[in-house]
């Protein structure tokens, strides 16, 4: 009887010690992640200007469904997503396979050069891009000198070209980031598989599509999910290069949230509603991507 009780208390004590180790982390996460998330959800049911908020139920969500600007932002963000993410993933795959070639000289240099963009500051590179793509910017000057174009392209002030500029900017910055994942994954593929394939007479293309891509599948899934999330949260580039213009042609959802909170008369309730729409979209897209590409258990 006595022994039994002591056993209990040791188990309790052990559990307590265990929990106390992670207590700080748990409390911190609760305070800085879950508390704001729940507060934001509550906020999304309130409307009003600034601090005069009152609880109005679903009205913000109803407004969301009739809000043209929101749908423009959603459409723009999906255009970025559908065009930019595949380009970037394919480009990153291609570059990483090239740079994984052991016969290539200056591999380290090339790897660093391609990875470097993603350690630059978001704002700094956006500002540089804005000037590169200005009407009198370097890109236009170069294209004119090479006689590729006759009149300067309005990269920033034309609705179509502004989108292209944003896509070029985010591709430039994030390709190297994804490439690093592929490089490390490629190095985990046993070289003997390729040797066997070569002995069997498989061409480089066949090796790439039949060995490399299937072996990289989990990483491709991972990078496409993180890139999707990143694109849905796109903010700095759009704000700094085009300010969402011309005429909302490049507005992203995150920038719309910023505008609702800070550019217009503060409407935090509705801004929170728009934020939650991103959460829902990300969850849905990630589930689809898992279904399509993930291993079914």
């Amino acid at each position: 009887m006595k022994a039994d009780r002591q056993g209990m208390s040791i188990r309790v004590k052990n559990a307590f010690t265990g929990w106390s180790f992670i207590l700080i982390a748990v409390l911190m996460i609760a305070a800085f992640y879950f508390y704001p998330m729940i507060q934001a959800l509550i906020l999304s049911f309130k409307t009003g200007r600034g601090a005069n908020l009152s609880f109005t139920g679903w009205s913000n969500y109803e407004r969301l469904l009739t809000d043209k600007t929101f749908f423009t932002a959603l459409k723009n963000t999906f255009i970025y997503l559908i065009i930019q993410v595949p380009i970037m993933i394919i480009l990153a795959l291609f570059i990483s396979v090239l740079l994984n070639d052991s016969k290539l000289k200056f591999r380290g240099f090339f790897r660093t050069a391609i990875f470097l963009p993603c350690v630059t500051s978001l704002v700094a590179y956006s500002v540089v891009f804005k000037y590169l793509f200005g009407t009198n910017g370097l890109i236009n000057t170069m294209l004119m000198k090479l006689s590729i174009i006759g009149t300067p392209i309005e990269w920033i002030t034309d609705p179509f070209w502004a989108k292209i500029t944003i896509i070029i900017a985010i591709t430039w910055r994030w390709t190297g980031y994804n490439m690093i994942f592929y490089l490390s994954a490629l190095q985990n593929i046993d070289n003997s598989i390729y040797e066997a394939a070569r002995i069997d007479g498989a061409s480089s293309f066949k090796q790439f599509f039949k060995i490399t891509i299937p072996m990289l599948k989990p990483i491709i899934l991972f990078t496409s999910i993180t890139s999707t999330i990143g694109t849905l949260q796109l903010f700095d580039e759009v704000l700094n290069i085009t300010k969402g213009g011309p005429g909302n042609a490049t507005l992203s959802i995150s920038q719309y949230i910023y505008n609702l909170s800070f550019k217009y008369t503060a409407d935090f309730g509705y801004a929170a509603t728009v934020s939650y729409s991103i959460v829902l979209i990300i969850v849905a897209l990630s589930l689809i991507q898992f279904r399509v590409a993930g291993d079914r258990k």
């Binding site: 307590f16 700080i24 409307t47 600034g50 008369t265 503060a266």
Partner: protein, 433 residues
């Protein structure tokens, strides 16, 4: 076990520290007697060449009489001030907020209505009648005067004399011009000099705001709440003129402030219709001295009430309802609120045109400016200031403008004008409740 308790306690402290923000509301509302003794105040403003420079002069003048008061002047970009104010006021903590803050007139009503009780009523400290009439609308709310009107934002047409002379015009031709004639002039200037008449940012409809305010019209009806887009004659005319200007190929596009300034200083454009706050930036290119002139703004050709005076931007000072509010109100009342001599100094040293009526009689206001061909530019501006039609900016200038920017693009791409404005009206009504 002791360690665990310590850990728990530490976490409790941390959590209470996180949540203490919400308890500070009492402070915001009270601003009681004990607080008024605070002798240190902090002021936030943007633009080092204009507002900050003006503040430094005011601080000097005030400290000469009240050496015991410490005035801290902090410079932030306007967007940062808005963000900090919104997050601070909304979280319920006033810690870290300034005693005095500069707010743009277009945004003032938004702040006053969204955060009632956060700003001090200055009704007894300054006399609204001492200031230009059109500044009182944005700075007062519910019959109380909250802001000390400052920067006038009065607009003029900055003109490159040499370009328009090459195109066969004389300065006098520009004195009583409407926007239709302005576009004609633009075509001639382009033909003769190859220069564009104007530079515009497609995301910024400032020119539209100037056009409609010259006719006493705004995006909202006089109540400051009901969108007035669909049936707004002045706005309709402004839209058509904007399109005409675009299609005449006399507009140089710019994407931001620095490109805007660059086109002015590089001599890429023949005119710049904008607020008087551009003067220091135009003058920054000293090699162009004597080539510029400032003319009255063109008016709308067919809208009957349109005058040659309008406004772009402009801002005013506000006192926040936190400890130190009495000192802050006193500072404003003695400097920007009444000191006509201070405004003379502001003008000679900074080039800042205020809106205190009594200041415009001073000597500095009638001084000729060699850069602008020896014209008395400031007394001209002061004269136009008195003619600016009063409108109620309401709380949604920038929200509506974002809707209009889109409809403007649609209109330029062939959508009918009535349809574009009707759609804008419907969207604005859904958004502004």
């Amino acid at each position: 076990m002791k360690k665990v308790m310590v850990l728990l306690l530490a976490c409790m402290v941390l959590l209470t520290a996180c949540s203490s923000g919400s308890n500070n509301k009492e402070q915001t509302a009270s601003g009681g007697e004990g607080d008024s003794k605070t002798k240190e105040i902090t002021i936030w403003a943007w633009d080092p060449k204009f507002n900050i420079a003006a503040l430094n002069i005011a601080k000097e003048a005030y400290n000469a009489k009240h050496p015991d008061v410490k005035v801290n002047i902090v410079e932030f970009a306007q967007a940062d001030i808005i963000q900090k104010m919104n997050t601070g006021l909304n979280s319920g903590t006033t810690k870290g907020l300034p005693n005095i803050v500069l707010i743009e007139d277009y945004r003032a009503q938004g702040f006053l209505q969204a955060y009632p009780d956060s700003f001090s009523d200055l009704t007894g400290k300054i006399k609204p009648a001492d200031f230009a009439e059109y500044k009182i609308g944005p700075t007062s709310y519910n019959g109380k005067q909250y802001g000390v009107p400052f920067d006038s934002g009065v607009a003029g047409l900055y003109v490159r004399k040499d370009y328009i002379e090459q195109a066969g015009y004389k300065l006098d031709d520009l004195k009583d011009m409407d926007w239709k004639q302005y576009i004609e002039m633009g075509k001639k200037v382009k033909e003769k000099t190859g220069k564009d008449i104007i530079t515009l940012d497609p995301n910024d409809l400032g020119i539209l705001r100037m056009m409609i305010q010259s006719a006493g019209s705004w995006y909202l009806k006089e109540d400051g709440k009901t969108p007035d887009l669909a049936g707004n004659a002045a706005l309709k005319e402004a839209f058509s003129l904007y399109k005409e200007m675009m299609e005449a190929n006399i507009v140089k596009a710019n994407a931001d402030w620095s490109q805007f300034i660059a086109s002015i200083n590089n001599g890429d454009v023949a005119t710049v219709p904008t607020g008087n706050w551009i003067t220091p930036s135009v003058k920054a290119e000293s090699s162009q001295s004597g080539k510029w002139a400032i003319m009255p703004m063109p008016k709308l050709p067919t809208t009957p009430n349109s005058v040659h005076a309008t406004n772009l931007g402009g801002s005013s000072w506000y006192v926040m309802n936190i400890p130190g509010s009495d000192t802050a109100a006193d500072f404003l009342a003695e400097t920007f609120g009444s000191d006509a001599d201070l405004y003379q100094k502001l003008l000679t040293d900074v080039g800042a045109i205020g809106t205190l009526k009594s200041a415009s009689q001073g000597e500095a206001y009638s001084k000729p400016d060699e850069f602008f061909g020896g014209e008395k530019t400031v007394s001209n501006f002061a004269k136009w200031t008195a003619e600016i039609p009063k409108v109620n900016y309401g709380i949604s200038t920038y929200a509506i403008e974002d809707i209009l920017v889109v409809e403007m693009q649609n209109f330029l791409n062939g959508k009918s004008l009535d349809q574009a404005l009707n759609d804008a009206q419907a969207q604005a009504e859904a958004q502004i409740k």
